[in-house]
Point group: C2
Chain length 274, copies 2
Amino acid sequence: MAKTDNSTRYRVKPGSKVELQQHDPGYDNGYTKGSPEVEEKLARDLDRICEWQEKLYAESKQALLIVLQGMDASGKDGTISHVMRGLNPQGCAVASFKVPTPQELAHDFLWRIHQKTPARGQIAVFNRSHYEDVLAVRVRKLVPQAVWKARYDQINDFESMLTQNGTRIVKLFLHISREEQKKRLQKRLEDPKKHWKYSPVDDQDSRLWNRYVTAYEEALSRCSMEAAPWYVIPADRKWYRNLAVAEIVEQTLAEMKPQWPQRPEAPAEGGEHV
Amino acid sequence: MAKTDNSTRYRVKPGSKVELQQHDPGYDNGYTKGSPEVEEKLARDLDRICEWQEKLYAESKQALLIVLQGMDASGKDGTISHVMRGLNPQGCAVASFKVPTPQELAHDFLWRIHQKTPARGQIAVFNRSHYEDVLAVRVRKLVPQAVWKARYDQINDFESMLTQNGTRIVKLFLHISREEQKKRLQKRLEDPKKHWKYSPVDDQDSRLWNRYVTAYEEALSRCSMEAAPWYVIPADRKWYRNLAVAEIVEQTLAEMKPQWPQRPEAPAEGGEHV
């Protein structure tokens, strides 16, 4: 069966208005869970990602920044462990952004973010990011409206500067339904291996959920750029989420097209190494 | 004698075109070196700067970033030791930006800069800065033209973000004449206490000098903003340079107007500290 190309299907077109209810969190693009087709495709994309990473590292001219955002229990950690685990850790770092420290709060909101951006040749994965400053911070009213409203432009300027300086940015919104979130949070309470992930804060009432949806819609609509696009990933099915993310990361690296560096010039006849 | 207000006299009006030969590096605004008037004014401004700093620190809502740029031997170190020495070091840090390390070069040019921006309540002094990336880097052709040309906008975006997040920026170009530079470089060779400052690189031929002038003129013209203005400081006379810089820093702090925080609310009748 012909499948749609995920790297364009889920991309938020710059300037377009995102309505999350138009995006089905349970979508699977016609794939079947556990089918050989799915297993092979995922394995192939993961292999290619590793090959691209080797070239990216050797070339040392470009960097890749992968931003992961999503509601609680949307699968950010799972995506990292399933899709990014094959990467060479020497060329890859994950940065998790939690509640800011007093020192971080004493600076502009991009200060701690900028420190973790990838060097040329590297891949950085952000588990949450500067987008929390127009998401959680907005929803929980931690700063005045005028402050968070100014941040969309500040984010676009910052990301433009990064892309102009050689960093490709891919932003993935892991889109789950309210029902799936409830199921997963319940599981955290029941499964001893998942207790540690549970926090009472996770139990959001519906009003809070809806305010997050509005905040995400504005961030996705205002901050998707050609060189730093947002993707809305259907994430109710973990296996499909991994498939889609792997495909998008692979396609992005293919577009970046890192190359093995040229072999250094051989020393000229009679030349010597000094 | 009525003197002009330095904080507006030397400010580069946003959008205006700077021609350095229109600015006299030997200007002294009618003051006399060593006169009681000069000594008293400098002492008064330095005192006020210290008072403002205490409030800035206590208030912890705004930050001040002072950027020092100028040709070799223009007096950046001297300005810091004469004008900034009275500040409380707990609330003030000097960052010197030298030739970038390989790690710094592997990131965008603002990466190392952002890490040193002042936290709220603090004053940071940059001895050289991100402007080197459109000055030395341009003059010495260290990156392609397209790269440094894109940096003016990147700098303005970056500084706008900082100012919108509570950091006032004052940028001081210490303007010396070619003759004065030659004299000072010669002195570095002759004075054993100044030998360490001498480097053969300092001996620029005239062509290099002129290219720096052009580069400075473009940076001053394109990157002077209301909340982050450039000042062209006459710097051939060290005593006058100090006087002018102190006045500008004092005026800037007066405009920022940091306030002593309110006394905390007394606990309510019968209330307890928990």
